[in-house]
């Protein structure tokens, strides 16, 4: 997938004006700039998590909190979260394959892989909702309303544990949702033939950048909140 970016161009010509000095279209470059800013926002959340943890001498160990698995009463520490991470990584892989198919102008394959990516995103969102419900309900598994975990209180330890959980996974889940919407709109355009007419599938690539960013953030959230 090499493009003009791999061609050696004299710097004077590159920076003289009238063209992109990065050999990157405006839309793609602005998507990267947005991703940098969004990464700093998520970075701020993770720093806050670290800050709260350091101010408390005891902090819940996540695999004693997250051991439920839907449909069973088994005790599998971090099992469902690991599955969610795997699903998101696979949806990233299907997205890369969609981009690769776009570079060969293979419309059928783009639809196939992009469709799978949208499905993967929806499965992740449903799983995240299930995780929230299971977290709120607490260790004994019954809805109690007055005793359920909320922003101000949780049965696992300091209140900030629940606050960070809801805010970080909620913010991330919102990004997954918007990513699914963006990918769905692009998929509709692919089916309608917009990009065949245009001659390139760069829009799929731009959607892919956003989707990979969402996956990358999840990798970091998984490490810092669930593992450490």
């Amino acid at each position: 997938m090499a493009g003009e970016a791999t061609k050696v161009i004299d710097p004077k010509e590159l920076w003289e004006g009238g063209r992109s000095p990065f050999s990157m279209s405006y839309g793609k470059m602005m998507m990267w700039f947005f991703l940098i800013s969004d990464a700093l926002t998520f970075g701020a959340f993770i720093i806050t998590l670290g800050y709260f943890r350091y101010t408390y001498s005891s902090w819940p160990v996540s695999d004693t909190v997250f051991y439920h698995f839907p449909g069973t009463h088994a005790h599998i520490p971090l099992g469902y979260v690991a599955l969610m991470t795997f699903i998101l990584i696979i949806s990233s892989v299907t997205m890369v394959l969609a981009v690769e198919a776009g570079h060969r102008m293979d419309k059928k394959k783009v639809i196939f892989w992009l469709g799978l990516t949208v499905v993967g995103g929806l499965v992740f969102l449903g799983s995240q909702a299930w995780e929230w419900a299971s977290f709120i309900v607490g260790p004994d598994g019954h809805w109690k309303t007055w005793d359920d975990a909320r922003i101000g209180w949780n049965p696992y330890g300091p209140p900030q544990y629940a606050q960070i959980f809801f805010c970080v996974t909620g913010f991330h889940g919102f990004h997954v949702f918007s990513g699914v919407v963006i990918n769905a709109v692009i998929l509709i355009n692919v089916i309608g033939g917009t990009y065949e007419k245009r001659g390139h599938y760069e829009m799929v690539e731009k959607g892919g950048l956003y989707w990979h960013f969402v996956d990358l953030v999840w990798v970091f959230v998984f490490t810092f909140f669930y593992l450490l």
Binding site: F22, P77, V99
Partner: protein
């Protein structure tokens, strides 16, 4: 005045079927690497958690290794996702530097200042 922001750089980025086969193979290799690293992290996280290590006699050093191991593995995963899945490795060096250097620099600084401030807060014993 000619618009220079609509030059179609991506028309150059097309590749043939044969090149596509090699690229797809690479994608699956990277997928396997990411899956193995994630599986390793989950297994260590599930079986060697802090509660288990508290009972070991050199549990604290083992935990330190595991902690830094997690962070290093996560950075390795991030390297694969950013350079290969997001194709940043195939872009010009200049834009790569524009994207990666400020972020790395700022994040390192933020981690340092977060640790400094949080240990200071802890030292003042301000939380119940």
């Amino acid at each position: 005045m000619e618009r220079d922001d609509i030059i179609e750089y991506s028309l150059d980025a097309h590749h043939s079927e044969e090149a596509g086969v090699k690229i797809r193979k690479r994608i699956w290799v990277v997928t396997a690497i990411l899956t193995i690293i994630t599986a390793a992290e989950v297994l260590v996280g599930a079986f060697l958690s802090k509660t288990v290590l508290a009972d070991w006699e050199n549990g604290a050093t083992v935990w330190a290794f595991i902690k830094y191991g997690y962070i290093i593995l996560t950075v390795i995963k991030a390297r694969f996702i950013v350079l290969e899945f997001m194709h940043l490795g195939e872009e010009r060096k200049s834009i790569r530097k524009v994207i990666l250097y400020p972020y790395i620099f700022f994040i390192l600084y933020f981690i340092f200042i977060m640790l400094t401030e949080a240990t200071a807060v802890d030292a003042v014993n301000f939380n119940p």
